[in-house]
């Protein structure tokens, strides 16, 4: 295991290398890399909270969509970077609110509520748009350049990885692991579990929201149905679980794998592809809950004990 400093350094170096891509890759390859980065960021930030604590959040789509709408609403008035930051903050604030209300409940309740959050936020925004803004969707008139979007998403994903690394090495990370292992025990040893959970949940929501805000500019037309796409939430969970939600490298590698798969298969066989993904998640949960990372760890253990 690398030290924290080395891991962060490695991440920054990789990000630096990737930042040159807009001038090296074709438009198609760049778009693909963008998708990889987005899912890496989403999966790593999801795993930061859910992997350690074993709480299941199905709210990624809600946060992503909220961020996207912050950009959509603020596109005229705010510079791109500010809108992205705001998207993240709004999502984080929302997560803090919801988290404070429901994180102290048992895990199943929490998961159920996050599951409905996407629907809830979508309905709320649809209502607002229709009643107050008098519109169904919005047109993005002056999107930023592809390179700008790329660099923003790259920055966010790199930041997500660095944050996940830092949290893992910190007291918060220890608290989260304790919560995942035995929450009541952790409480009796002095962990304010509610505060730790809300904090980590909000942090993870920030990245989902910011990424949503950043990616929204790629579409020229935004409406609630397309933005609050449950597929994004599903894909995030699947990627993190396949990679191994307790690791950081696992979800990153898995994100690349799935982005490639999605790109090449989804347009050809849209429904079949989703059916296969659903099937894959089921198989995974039943037979390999630790994801590929657990396979890797088992292989490594076997080698060292041979």
């Amino acid at each position: 295991m690398m030290t924290l400093r080395d891991s962060i350094l490695a991440t920054l170096l990789a990000a630096l290398a990737l930042s040159a891509m807009p001038w090296l890759l074709s438009a198609f390859a760049l778009s693909l890399t963008l998708t990889c980065l987005m899912y890496a960021g989403l999966a790593v930030s999801w795993a930061m909270f859910c992997g350690a604590t074993n709480y299941l959040s199905l709210a990624t789509a809600a946060f992503f969509g909220m961020g996207a709408y912050v950009t959509a609403w603020g596109a005229e008035a705010l510079p791109y970077g500010v809108a992205v930051l705001l998207g993240g903050l709004v999502a984080a604030a929302f997560a803090a609110l919801v988290g404070a209300a429901v994180l102290h409940l048992r895990g199943a309740y929490f998961a159920v509520i996050t599951f409905g959050l996407g629907e809830l936020v979508r309905h709320a925004i649809t209502y607002y748009e229709k009643s107050y803004a008098g519109t169904v969707g919005r047109v993005i008139s002056a999107p930023p350049e592809a390179a700008t979007i790329y660099h923003t998403v790259l920055l966010l994903s790199a930041l997500a990885v660095v944050t996940a690394l830092a949290v893992r090495a910190s007291r918060l990370g220890l608290a989260l692991r304790g919560i995942g292992a035995d929450e009541e025990r952790a409480r009796t040893l002095g962990v304010n579990t509610r505060r730790a959970k809300v904090l980590a949940f909000s942090l993870s929501a920030f990245f989902a929201g910011a990424l949503g805000a950043a990616m929204a500019m790629r579409w020229t037309y935004i409406d609630p149905l397309s933005v609050f796409n449950p597929f994004i939430g599903f894909q995030t969970v699947l990627i993190a679980m396949v990679g191994g939600a307790h690791t950081i490298l696992g979800p990153i590698a898995s994100a690349v794998l799935f982005s490639l798969l999605t790109e090449f298969l989804r347009l050809q066989f849209p429904y079949l592809f989703l059916i296969m993904l659903g099937f894959l998640l089921i198989l995974l949960v039943l037979y390999l809950p630790g994801g590929l990372a657990s396979l890797f760890a088992r292989w490594r253990w076997r080698k060292s004990n041979a």
Partner: protein, 251 residues
């Protein structure tokens, strides 16, 4: 009379119609080694839950060093110096023994100062418990008796003033029970903690503690010197209803 470190005043716990703990008073002072015994279902563990903030009493108050913590969350009790073990050892299975002990130091342990400075390091605690050699082993891989010791280590990591031990000797051989009891005695002697110890192994507890409280069907029926309590007719009757006289109960 010096102030009690931990004080239960009229604590009752009701689950629906069932009264698990019935208006129990208990005061524990610094350096005291108090045993709590009683037949099965007497409410001992439930009482412990209220003393550690895991459960809120339905009635009554819990004071820690004079401060009323009734109804507060468990982590507040921990940061005020109450640490406990559970009946079945609850260690963090995936973490190493060292990290298990380190956990308490990182959280509740941060806010407290220990009488014994050597306990600033998780390694020192493991040494004290005789677990130094398994420091790197994941806690889930330890034997049950070692996990019990580790649990005490986790509690010590929280740098408590009061240590609540729930049946730490259950399932151990005679020799192991004696060793555990000696360890508990050392914890009190060397670290100046107050220790409240629930045990079914009444024989051993009685010979190590200076004071024993007896719970029966949720009520406290005796509280005092072990020999006197063992001869108390109410206590004998409570145990006869269960299995036999306390001083003759095998561990």
């Amino acid at each position: 009379m010096r102030e009690a470190l931990l004080s239960a005043r009229g604590v009752s716990v009701r689950f629906g119609g069932l009264v698990a703990v019935d208006e129990v008073d208990l005061d524990v002072h610094a350096g005291e080694l108090v045993g709590v015994i009683g037949p099965n279902g007497a409410g001992k563990t439930t009482f412990f839950h209220t003393l550690s903030g895991v459960l809120s009493p339905t009635a009554g108050r819990i004071l820690v060093a004079g401060e009323d913590l009734t109804g507060r969350a468990a982590h507040v009790y921990a940061t005020h110096g109450i640490a406990r073990t559970f009946q079945t050892p609850r260690v963090f299975k995936e973490m190493s023994a060292l990290d298990n002990v380190r956990f308490g130091l990182e959280f509740a342990g941060r806010t407290r100062r220990h009488a014994h400075d050597a306990f600033d390091e998780p390694a020192a605690i493991l040494e004290f418990l005789g677990l130094a050699e398994v420091a790197a082993v994941p806690a889930g891989g330890l034997t049950p008796s070692r996990q019990r010791l580790l649990e005490i280590g986790m509690a010590l990591g929280a740098r408590p003033r009061v240590l609540l031990l729930d049946e730490v000797a259950a399932g151990l051989t005679h020799a192991e029970v004696d060793l555990t009891a000696q360890l508990i005695r050392r914890v009190r002697d060397e670290l100046g903690l107050a220790v409240i110890w629930i045990e079914h192994a009444v024989r051993v507890l009685m010979s190590y503690v200076e004071r024993v409280a007896v719970l029966h069907q949720g009520r406290k029926i005796a509280d005092g010197d072990p020999r006197a309590v063992a001869r108390d007719p109410a206590v004998i009757e409570a145990y006869l209803g269960d299995e036999g006289e306390p001083e003759r109960r095998a561990a």
